[in-house]
């Protein structure tokens, strides 16, 4: 059975995953577009940097983020100098960490989708009077639909299951920064297996339904290519 804490953790998790995914889509889309279309010689350096956060174990990445966000770290120090609060152990901190960590899962599929689209549809839209921004929204995004789907699913799911980073910079504070993945982990650690099974089961079921809906819905809007 779910405790009140667990329910709250689930709520925080969904909030975190949604916000992270939205932010990732917002900042990832222009980056992916640029990566797909730019002819800059040293683009590959940026591409390599984007995939880097992946190779560090999440807890370690979280550790470094913690140092960076902490009062002695560059970001945290800056925040404090500006009179702001430290971001560590806050929900905002969680969002920053998750965004950082799930970035490649959003950018890479989008980049591929934009690339596969070719230049022609955008040229046609331009001759039909659509401004760059307008054609980006009315042509590029719909045509990159399956890339967006993948990006969203991977980004969202990865943030759901995200753990190490969140544990480190979130501080696992129930009701504030404890997400469901850590709640399950805590139950497992505390040998409360039944509880762990329950939450895992609910999470899986919920995710399965969400994913199923997304994919089933997507079928209807598939862009057919020949």
């Amino acid at each position: 059975m779910l405790t009140e804490n667990d329910v709250y953790a689930l709520w925080i998790t969904l909030k975190l995953a949604s916000i992270t995914t939205i932010i990732l889509l917002i900042i990832g889309t222009p980056i992916a577009w640029w990566l797909a279309k730019s002819r800059w010689r040293y683009k590959f350096l940026i591409e390599a940097v984007i995939a880097l956060p992946l190779v560090l174990p999440p807890t370690v990445l979280g550790f470094y983020l913690l140092i960076a966000l902490g009062p002695h770290g560059p970001i945290g120090g800056m925040m404090q100098a500006l009179g702001g609060q430290s971001l560590a152990f806050t929900f905002t901190g969680l969002v920053i960490g998750s965004v950082f960590y799930s970035m490649p899962f959003v950018i890479q599929p989008l980049q591929n989708a934009f690339y596969a689209m070719g230049t022609r549809p955008m040229e046609v839209a331009a001759t039909l009077g659509a401004s760059p921004l307008n054609r980006f929204f009315t042509i590029a995004i719909p045509l990159a639909r399956s890339g967006f789907l993948t990006a969203t699913v991977l980004g969202f799911a990865h943030t759901l299951g995200e753990f190490g980073v969140v544990l480190m910079i979130g501080g696992n504070i129930p009701g504030a920064t404890q997400v469901i993945s850590i709640a399950i982990y805590d139950h497992v650690e505390a040998l409360e297996y039944t509880q762990a099974h329950w939450i895992s089961g609910s999470l899986l079921l919920l995710s399965f339904f969400m994913l199923m809906m997304v994919y089933a819905f997507n079928r209807r809007f598939m862009v057919v290519r020949t």
Binding site: T59, F63, L66, I67, L69, G70, P71, H72, G73, G76, S86, A88, F89, L167, M168, G171, N172, I173, P174, G175, Q178, D186, V188, E189, A190, L191
Partner: protein, 226 residues
Amino acid sequence: DTIRIAVASNFSHAIKDIAHRFEVQTGHKVILIFGSSGKHYAQIINGAPFELFFSADTIRPSLLEKKGLIQDNSRFTYAIGQVVLWSPNHSLIDKTAQILHKASFRYLAVANPKLAPYGKAAQQILTQQGLWTTLRLRMVRGENIGQTFQFVKSGNAELGFVAFSQIKSPDKKIKGSYWKPDQALYDPIQQQAVLLKNNDLARAFLKYIKQDEALNIIRAYGYRTP
């Protein structure tokens, strides 16, 4: 009022019990944050909002003390852990743990001696028996004592050195067979706590945990008390 207490995962059951009673008696709220002591340490030096820290060892509290991050003279031992060799199999372990010498098993689970005091204790016990090197290849190492327990519990390792507190709880009978080595065979596993912030409620909690009511609970969960 509310206090936040970072607690080593292995002490979770006992402290939940204690915190619950404390909450009932005082009407204040206690938020418990479980995790590995290493992580908690890293978080505390980076400004985590904890009032109390219940570590699984003595090292981290004393390091914090050295750094001047704790309230003066607040460091004390709240529990002393006991290590046991345990197997869910009822007949595997006899009173003298002959099985260790016979080595008639595939895997022996031990917590990482470098990270977990229980692992260090297991190492000391095995070294004294001249088994540490011979069994090395059969040892699987849990990152912490919780994971070590899971190795054994899931049956993947036939037996392992776990915390007595993991198999003993006030209301349940111990399942399987175990051997409880003599205390003299290893350095006492002192678990220390420190007060991080000058907070009255936190001081009240510390006071409470040193009283008999709390000490009884601690003992009922398989720890010794100082």
